[in-house]
Amino acid sequence: MNRSAALVFIISVTMSAPAAFAQTVDMSEWACEFCPFDEGQRADFEFGASSVSDDSAYFGDATGYDESGVYANVDGHGGYDSEKHRLRWTLEDLGLDSRFAELEGGRPGMFDYQLAYREMPRRQFDTTTTIFQQPAGDTLSLPSAWVRAPATSGLTALNSNLVGRNIESDRNILQIGGRYLPTRRFSVSADYRRQEQDGLKMYGGSSFTNASILPMPFDYATDEVDFGVRYSGDNSFVSLGWYLSDFENSNAALNWEQPFTTAPGAESVALAQAPDSRLQQLSLAAGYTFPQYQTVISASAAIGNIEQDAAFLDYTTNSNLTAPALSRATLDGDIDTSNFAIAITSKPFDKARVKFSYRFDERDNKTAQAQWERVIVDTFLSNDPEQNIPYSFERSLLSISGDYDLFDNLRVSAGYDRREIDRDFQEVPEQTEDTGWGQARWRPLQTLDIDVRGGTSKRDIDTYNEGIAATFDQNPLMRKYNLAYRYRQFGELKVTWSPATVPMSITLDALYADDDYTKSQLGITNGDELNVAADFSWSVSTDASIYVNVGIDQIDSEQTGSESFAAPDWRARHEDDFTTVGAGFRLQQIADKFDLQLDYTRSDGETMIDVASGGAGPDTFPDLESELDDLRLRLSYQRSEQLEINLNLRYQRFIAEDWALEGVGPGTIPVVLSLGAQPYSPERFVIGIGARYQFGSNSVTQ
C-alpha cells in the first residue's frame, strides 16, 4: 500500500467512524425477559339481547333497530399471535342489519391482508303507503280496478288500494385487501371493495300537469379496485396507483303507469335510472426531504377517465307520437380528469416556516354534442331541438403562507390564497377568488392556548354572460350564488385552557362568516354563519370523569326573486338554527366491581322562513323543527377476570315538525299523488343485557 492509498484509507475510516459509532448501542443485555409478548389465541365476546319498545325508521336508520321486539346480538374481537403470524378479528352487531365483521392479519413486516364485510341499513320512512304494485324489478303498475282522474280528489279507488310500503334499502360492503413488502423500502398493495345497494327510493314521476311520488326500486353495485406500488427511501418516496370504480345498475329504467288522466298513449311511461359508468385513475406521487432548512416537497399527479355508454331509452313510450330517431343509441360519455398538486414547506430559519402549495383540477367532458328532440313528459313533441351540454371546468388553488414565532409563546401567521375556475357553457367563464388571512396563536400561560384567525376573500368574475343565461330562459338579473361576485369576511377563535393543578379542560371554538353578494340583484344577496362549540371535561379522579359540551350553529341567508320576470319583487329569508348539548359521566371501579357510564344528548333544529312579496309584509312559514333526546346508560359488573355482565338502557325521542310532510296524505295535493310520508315523531326505550366473556390466558388488557 503506498502512502497515498494509506492516507485515503485512514481518511475514509475516520470520516465513517462517527456515524458507525453513533449508531452503536450495547444491547448485549437487552433480553426482553419481562416483555409479555402476545402468543396464542384470545377472544372477547359479548352476547346479549335487547328489547326495543317501538317501531322507528328514524332510529333504525344505520343501526338496524327499526322494529319493536327483541334482538339477539353478538359482538367480539380477538386475535391469534405466533412467532410469524398475527391475526385480528372483530365482530359488531351480528344480530342486526348493521352487522360488521373484519379479519386482518399477516406476517408483520412481510405482508398483511384484510377481509371485511359491513351491512348498512337505510331506513327512511315507515309511514308511507302506495297504490303501486311491483310486478317486476323495474316496473310499477296500477291496481286492476284503478279509476283515473285529472286530480287526486277524483281518484275514487285511491283509499281502497293503499298498501303500506316502507322506503328503505340495504347496502352491503365487501372489502378484500392486501399488502406485500418484499423489502423494507418497497411495497405492493391491492384492495378490492364491492358495494351492493338495493331497495326503494322516493322518486317523483311527472305527467303533463300531475306528478306521482313513486316507490322506485333500485339495485346498484359498485366495484372499486385500488392498486398501489410504493418505494420509500430515507428522505424520499415515490408511489404509483391505479383506481377503478365500476358502477352497475340492474335497472336501466323505471317504468310506471300514470294514475292520473293522461294523454292517449302516455298511460305507461318510463324514466331513465342512473346509467352504468366507469372511472379509472392513474396516479403518481412523490416526496423528498431536503436537509437544508427542513424543506419538504411533495407532489402528486393523477389522470383519469370516466366512461358511460349505457343504451338510451326511446324519446317516449307513447306509441301515438312519432318521435324522430335518436341522434345516437348511447351517450358515449367520455370525461378526462387531471389533478396535479405540489406543496413545499420550509423553515428558512428557526423561528419561521413558509409553505407554498398549488393544486390544479380539470374535468374535460369530451362527450359529443348533438341535437335532441324532446318529447315533453310523453305528451307532445317540443319541436324545439336542444343540444346536450357537456360541462367542463378547470380549477386551480394557489396558497402561500408563513408562520413566525414572534416570541416563545406567540406565533403569528399570514397567508394568501388564489382560486381560479374556468368553466365551459356557463354564465361565468372565468372566476377568481382572492383570500387573505392572518392568524395569531398566543400561549400566555403554559395551560392556555388562544388561537385567533381572520380574513377576507373576494370572489370576482370577468363577466356574467347574460346571453348564455338567456339560452336557459333565465332572468337576466339572476346571479347564481356559486358564480356571483361575493365578498366574505370571516373570523375564528379557539381557546383551550387546561389548568395545571386540576385535570380539567375547557375549550371554545367559534367561527363567524359573513357573505355579501353586493352585485346580485336576483338570487342570494347575503348570508352569514355563526358556529360555536364549547367543551368542558374533568377527570375528577382516576375512576371518575364528567363532561359537558354545547354547540350552536346559525346559518342565515336572504335572496330575491321576480315573479314579473323583471326587477326583484319578492324577498325571502331562510334561517337555520341548531343547538346541541351533551353531558355525561363515567364512574369506574365502584366497589371494585362496577362501572357506570351515562351519556345524554339534546339537539334542537329550527328553520324559519319568511317571504315578502310585493309591498306586503313578510309571510312567515311555520317553523320547521326537530328535537332529539338521546340518553344512554351502561352499567357493567365485573364478575371475574373473564366475565363481565352489562346492562344497557337507552331512551330516544325525536320530534319533527315539517310542513312539507305534515298532514300531506296520498291525496292531499290536488295534482300530486304522494306516498303520505309523515314527519318522524318516535319515542322509544331500548333495554339490553349482555355478558362479556374473555377467552385466552393473556392478562394484558386495554
Partner: protein, 312 residues
C-alpha cells in the same frame, strides 16, 4: 525525528482527532441508553396496563424487523428516546430525568414527539403531513393515535369519530343534526371521506376532489349524463352540507328556496311561494312533498333523451 516523520505524525494526529471525538460521542450516546432495554423499563412499569397493552399492538411484535421490538431495534427507547438517565439511580427527592412522552400533557415539544413517529412512518404517510392542516397546526401524532393500545381507537370505525371530535367540536355538532351521515352511530368514520394525514386536496379529502370522494359511495350520481346539472358536475357541496343539516338529504337549504337561488325562469320557478300553499291551504305541489323534485326528480342528471328538464 525527521521532518517527514513529523509531518506524518501531524497528519495522523489530525486524522485521529475526529475519531477520538467520535468515540467519545459514541460513549456519550451509549451511556444515554438503558442497560437492559425494555427490561429496564418494565422493572418499574410492569404493573401498568397501558404500558403492557403495547405487546398486543403492532408496535410490540418481535417477529417484525421494523417494529420497535424487532431484532436489533431499540425497544421502548426506539420511541421514547434514550432512557439511561431516566432508568438510572437518582438521589432521594430528585426528579427522575424525563424521556420523550406522548400525551396531550407531555412536556416534550410536539415537533420532537412527531419526529420520533416520522422516523419510521414518514415515507409511509407520503410527506403530506408537513403541508396538511394537522401538521400546520402542530397536532401531535399522539393527539389522535394511541400507539400502546391493542386496538387504536382512531383506527376503528366505531370509535374514530369520537377521537376526531376532541378537536373538531364544530363538526361534532353538525353531525348531530337531524340529517347526517351515521358517524354518531359509529357506522361510518371521518376517514371514509378525509385523508387524515393531510393532502394537497382542499379539506384533506380521501380522493382527488369532493365529487370523487362522495361518489365512492354514491357512484350513481357520477354520470356523465346526457343532461347534466351544472353544479352537480362541479361540486356536491354546492347543494349539500356533508357534515349534517336540518333538512332531508343534507340539503343546505329548504326547497324551493334552494332551487330558486339559481333558477329564475319565468313562471313557476320565479313564484314567491307563501304559506297559503301548505296542506291547510291550497296544498301547493311546489312546496309540499318533495317540492321541485316532485317533478324534477332527476336533479343529479338525466340520461333520458327527453330528460333535458330533469323530469325523465
Amino acid at each position: 525525528m525527521t521532518s517527514d516523520s513529523l509531518r506524518h505524525f501531524a497528519v495522523l494526529v489530525f486524522l485521529c482527532l475526529p475519531m477520538a471525538i467520535a468515540a467519545q460521542s459514541a460513549d456519550d450516546a451509549q451511556a444515554e441508553y438503558s442497560r437492559k432495554g425494555a427490561d429496564s423499563c418494565l422493572a418499574c412499569h410492569q404493573d401498568n396496563a397501558v404500558v403492557l397493552a403495547l405487546f398486543r399492538g403492532k408496535h410490540g411484535v418481535p417477529s417484525n424487523p421494523q417494529s420497535p421490538f424487532g431484532h436489533g431495534q431499540l425497544q421502548c427507547e426506539a420511541c421514547h428516546g434514550p432512557g439511561g438517565a431516566h432508568a438510572g439511580r437518582v438521589r432521594r427527592g430528585q426528579e427522575r430525568p424525563p424521556v420523550i412522552r406522548f400525551s396531550p400533557d407531555s412536556v416534550t415539544p410536539v415537533a420532537e414527539q412527531n419526529a420520533m413517529c416520522l422516523n419510521c412512518h414518514e415515507s409511509e404517510q407520503g410527506f403530506a403531513w408537513h403541508s396538511g392542516p394537522h401538521g400546520n397546526n402542530d397536532v401531535a401524532c399522539a393527539d389522535c393515535h394511541d400507539s400502546h393500545a391493542a386496538r387504536d381507537p382512531v383506527l376503528q370505525t366505531s370509535t374514530q369519530p369520537q377521537v376526531c371530535d376532541n378537536c373538531h367540536q364544530r363538526q361534532r355538532s353538525e353531525t348531530r343534526k337531524a340529517f347526517a351521515h351515521p358517524l354518531v352511530e359509529g357506522k361510518m368514520d371521518c376517514s371514509s371521506c378525509h385523508s387524515l394525514h393531510g393532502d394537497s386536496v382542499a379539506s384533506s379529502l380521501a380522493r382527488q376532489t369532493v365529487n370523487d370522494t362522495c361518489q365512492q359511495c354514491h357512484a350513481e350520481k357520477r354520470g356523465p349524463y346526457l343532461w347534466e346539472h351544472a353544479p352537480v358536475s362541479e361540486d356536491c357541496g354546492l347543494c349539500h352540507s356533508p357534515h349534517g343539516s336540518n333538512h332531508a338529504g343534507m340539503l343546505a337549504k329548504r326547497a324551493p328556496l334552494l332551487c330558486q337561488s339559481c333558477h329564475s325562469q319565468s313562471g313557476h320557478p320565479s313564484v314567491a311561494y307563501q304559506s297559503d300553499g301548505l296542506a291547510s291551504g291550497t296544498a301547493s305541489k311546489y312546496l309540499l312533498g318533495q317540492s321541485c323534485m316532485n317533478c324534477h326528480s332527476q336533479v343529479h342528471g338525466s340520461n333520458h333523451p327527453s330528460g333535458s328538464k330533469l323530469m325523465r
